[in-house]
Amino acid sequence: MAKIKGSIVVDVEKCKGCEVCMVSCPTGTIAMAKEVNSKGYFNAYPANPDLCIGCASCAIVCPDGVITVFKTKI
């Protein structure tokens, strides 16, 4: 059975750590970094990359458009 796997790319310096992507992610892929970026925000990052299904919910809801999404069939 074909499975969809995704991978997100987060622009660390543009992320403002608002966490809206984290709560929108249906699989728990995203968490906030433990260290701040150069602006002082805890940026989002794919903490559990294996869980990502490339649904792009995070990217769609991100106010700053810092997330790029890739997905493929395995």
Binding site: C18, T29, C52, C62, F70
Partner: protein, 271 residues
């Protein structure tokens, strides 16, 4: 560009599922973290790109948090005096009728100082798109009460909460313009969840396409958050908005063109 990524083997051009629109200028938005303005900018930019309108778009930015819209969208833009964007857009559209013309306004701009311009542009049925971002507060000037601030809501000029007896009720501009014959499509949406972002984009796409028909004003209100003004985290503010703003500003279409209504009814009957 410093990035963090997921599984690297999936990151290939042929696997690209979503990236930010080219119509967004490659810079950092000045909005507060989690502010809905950024999301609305993104949706608008994507639609301008998808519909091939970048060369023909002229936007009008307000006074308010989104005054610097012209730094973020790569289209011709005029910055208008506070509240006057619909008047500015009226002239632009009448003098260059084949361009896609929109205004982008906050609640102070559209529902306080600009009430007259909003109502009269809609009453004349100017063939423009009015995008109204309503977060019930004046963000740019530091969190004062707006005409759309809901009863009981605290702000810097209603520190004990909006008192309806002395400060009036929340002003439902979208409902008012929906009653005017000059408006063609009026809807209220939000952008705080992926599903709502998709719905807003669908509604905005319709509104943009309707402009070619020259049948009147299209008006989209986006109920949004203001984490700074409301003194909450972005996630808290979205939850608060759902629980408290939506009952006063229910989401959905307030006015749909007759042809749309027929289509919807037919598909309802077929179900």
């Amino acid at each position: 560009m410093k990035v963090v990524t997921g599984l690297k083997e999936i990151i290939k051009p042929e696997n690209l599922a979503y990236h930010r629109s080219e119509v967004l200028v490659d810079n950092t938005l000045s909005y507060c973290p989690g502010c809905g303005h950024g999301t609305v900018h993104r949706i608008l930019a994507e639609l301008i790109e998808e519909l091939g309108l970048q060369e023909k778009t002229i936007g009008v930015s307000p006074v308010g948090c989104s005054v610097l819209l012209y730094h973020y969208l790569d289209v011709d833009i005029q910055q208008a005096a506070h509240g006057r964007a619909p008047a500015v857009a009226t002239a632009i559209k009448r003098l260059l009728p084949d361009r896609f013309v929109f205004t982008y306004q906050g609640d102070g701009d559209l529902a306080a100082i600009g009430t007259s311009e909003t109502i009269h542009a809609c009453n004349r049925g100017e063939n423009i798109l009015i995008i109204f971002v309503n977060n019930g507060i004046y963000g740019m000037t530091g969190g004062q009460m707006a005409p759309t601030t809901i009863p009981g809501m605290k702000s810097s000029t209603s520190p004990l909460g909006r008192d309806v007896r002395t400060m009036g009720n929340h002003l439902k501009m979208t409902d008012i313009v929906a009653t005017l014959d000059g408006t063609y499509f009026v809807t209220r949406q939000s952008v705080h969840t992926p599903a709502n972002v998709r719905r807003t984009k669908k509604a905005m796409r319709k509104a943009i396409e309707y402009q070619k028909l020259n049948r009147g004003t299209c008006f989209i209100e986006i109920v949004s958050n203001c984490p700074s003004g409301w003194k909450m985290t972005p996630v808290e503010s979205n939850k608060w908005m759902e629980a408290n703003m939506f009952p006063y500003y229910p989401l959905g279409d307030l006015k749909v063109p007759a042809e749309e209504k027929e289509k919807q009814q037919k598909s309802n009957n077929n179900d």
